[in-house]
């Protein structure tokens, strides 16, 4: 019941976050139509997050949970991300891992070493400012670059924004050549799947470049539907809210907008926010999926415990009855002997 209530809240939060994401995507799409993405003279791409490079160093952000007892939620993410990492490693790519949630951190800390950064500070000649640099020394092909143990405690946009800024910095300085998110996508209680989503470079705005790593089995769907029914949670994907419908119209009216600033400048400022919103969205979906998995696991455990109690009660009654019968026989036999 507690998981069902948490699931409802998580689902609601994911829904409430949709209008912002939709509006941001709309503005970006609208700007793309008004901006030259390529420099006319040099032919270079105008924004560093659109530049595609050969994938030599790949960052994989894995979103799991903080707690156990959620059925196969954490282990499914672990297995699926490991398959993805092994596949990339086999292609000769270096992998940086960025696990979110204590379960993912625990898993990868045991398997791979932490990335080593050498911190360098140097005072400028005027003694007023410092030049700060963190130099990376790679010792293994797969390393844990950054951990996020507290991000899931209370998912807030500001923290996600700080994380996204760090990822974008590493992408822009070519420390990494691509970024993937591995998480549990949540549509409804019976429609969840482990997916890997390509976050960077951005190839097409407003679309999720997703590869499915693991789908729910029919049995899992059935168990989830039963648990949802007993907890009073809907198994259907929630309908689009009015705010969401309105959000789709944002920045797309059939009029000639006056742009208060140059579209190129707006585009530059929007791109990092777009990446942040994608991560934020994945975190909210993953949280809803975790609560759904926990609700199903709790329901199955409650049922199993009930069956066990029934079985043990029956055994207890049988043993008690046998003891009483034995005692009566002894008394009756004793009385007959007199």
């Amino acid at each position: 019941m507690v998981s069902a209530a948490k699931l409802r809240r998580a689902q609601e939060r994911a829904l409430q976050a949709r209008p912002y994401a939709q509006m941001l995507t709309n503005v970006l799409k609208s700007l793309v139509r008004r901006t030259d993405l390529f420099n006319e003279e040099t032919g270079e791409i105008m924004h560093p997050l659109l530049i595609e490079r050969e994938e030599k160093n790949v960052l994989v952000v894995v979103i799991a949970g903080d707690k156990g007892f959620a059925g196969g939620f954490n282990s499914n993410i672990g297995k699926a991300s490991q398959r993805f990492i092994d596949g990339r490693h086999a292609q000769g790519q270096n992998i940086d891992l960025e696990p979110i949630g204590k379960k993912a951190i625990g898993l990868y800390k045991k398997r791979y070493p932490a990335a080593i950064y050498e911190h360098k500070e140097q005072l400028y000649d005027n003694d007023l400012a410092k030049h700060i640099e963190d130099i990376r020394h790679r010792v293994a092909p797969v390393e844990v670059a950054v951990e996020h143990p507290a991000l899931l405690l209370k998912i807030n946009f500001e923290q996600v924004s700080a994380m996204a800024t760090s990822i974008i910095d590493r992408y822009e300085t070519a420390e990494i050549d691509s970024v993937y998110l591995v998480y549990n996508e949540f549509k409804s209680v019976i429609s969840q799947r482990v997916v890997v989503e390509k976050l960077l470079p951005i190839r097409k705005l407003g679309t999720h470049e997703i590869t499915v790593l693991e789908e729910m089995t029919e049995e899992q769907k059935e168990a989830a539907a039963k648990a949802a029914q007993e907890s009073g949670v809907s198994i259907y994907e929630p309908e689009e809210s009015v705010a969401e419908q309105e959000a789709k119209k944002f920045g797309t009216a059939d009029v000639d907008y006056i742009f208060d600033q140059a579209p190129e400048r707006l585009f530059r400022h929007l791109m990092p926010r777009y990446v942040t919103t994608q991560i934020f969205h994945a975190l909210l979906e993953s949280t809803a999926a975790e609560h759904a998995a926990r609700m199903t696991a709790t329901d199955a455990a409650t049922k199993n415990a009930g069956e066990l109690i029934d079985k043990l009660s029956l055994t207890m009654n049988r043993v008690r009855q046998a003891a009483i019968t034995k005692e009566i026989i002894e008394i009756v036999s004793g009385a007959a002997a007199l």
Binding site: Q16, M23, A129, S161, I258, F259, D260, Q261
Partner: protein
């Protein structure tokens, strides 16, 4: 008839943050902190798309009444009958905690000290400081 006309001349205003739709109301005028200075939207305004900086969104009249929100970075779409504000941070001035803002100011100063020869880092430090200063000003105006 006069009242009907007045109702028709109200703007629909919606303030959306990454978390939720914070405000959905009508208003007769909306002041917005655009990157190039404050602008005011009235019913029938020309279609406009603008980036918002740090400052106050002020609503006057309509079902929103007199309301103020502190916003930091966002976008606004102004249409003749509707204003939609997309804000990364939106707070009521009485939700601002001065001690936290002081910490943000110190953080901005630290970023400035560590910016070295990187122009982008100076810009980032300036942005953090500017948001904190505007936040503080908004809290003080309320107080």
């Amino acid at each position: 008839m006069g009242e009907l006309q007045t109702n028709l001349e109200l703007l629909k205003v919606r303030l959306v943050t990454p978390d939720r739709v914070l405000l959905d109301a009508t208003s007769s005028a909306v002041e917005l902190p655009s990157m190039s200075g404050y602008l005011e939207a009235l019913y029938g305004a020309a279609p406009l798309l603008a980036e918002l900086g740090a400052g106050e969104v002020r609503l006057h009249g309509g079902s929103a009444g007199e309301q103020v929100f502190f916003v930091a970075w966002g976008f606004v779409e102004v249409l003749p009958e509707r204003v939609t504000i997309l804000a990364e941070i939106a707070l009521h001035p009485n939700e601002i905690i001065p001690a936290e803002v002081e910490a943000e100011l110190r953080h901005g100063q630290m970023l400035w000290d560590q910016a070295g020869d990187n122009q982008e880092r100076y810009d980032e430090a300036n942005a953090v400081t500017r948001v904190a200063e505007e936040k503080l000003a908004s809290a003080q105006r309320k107080g």
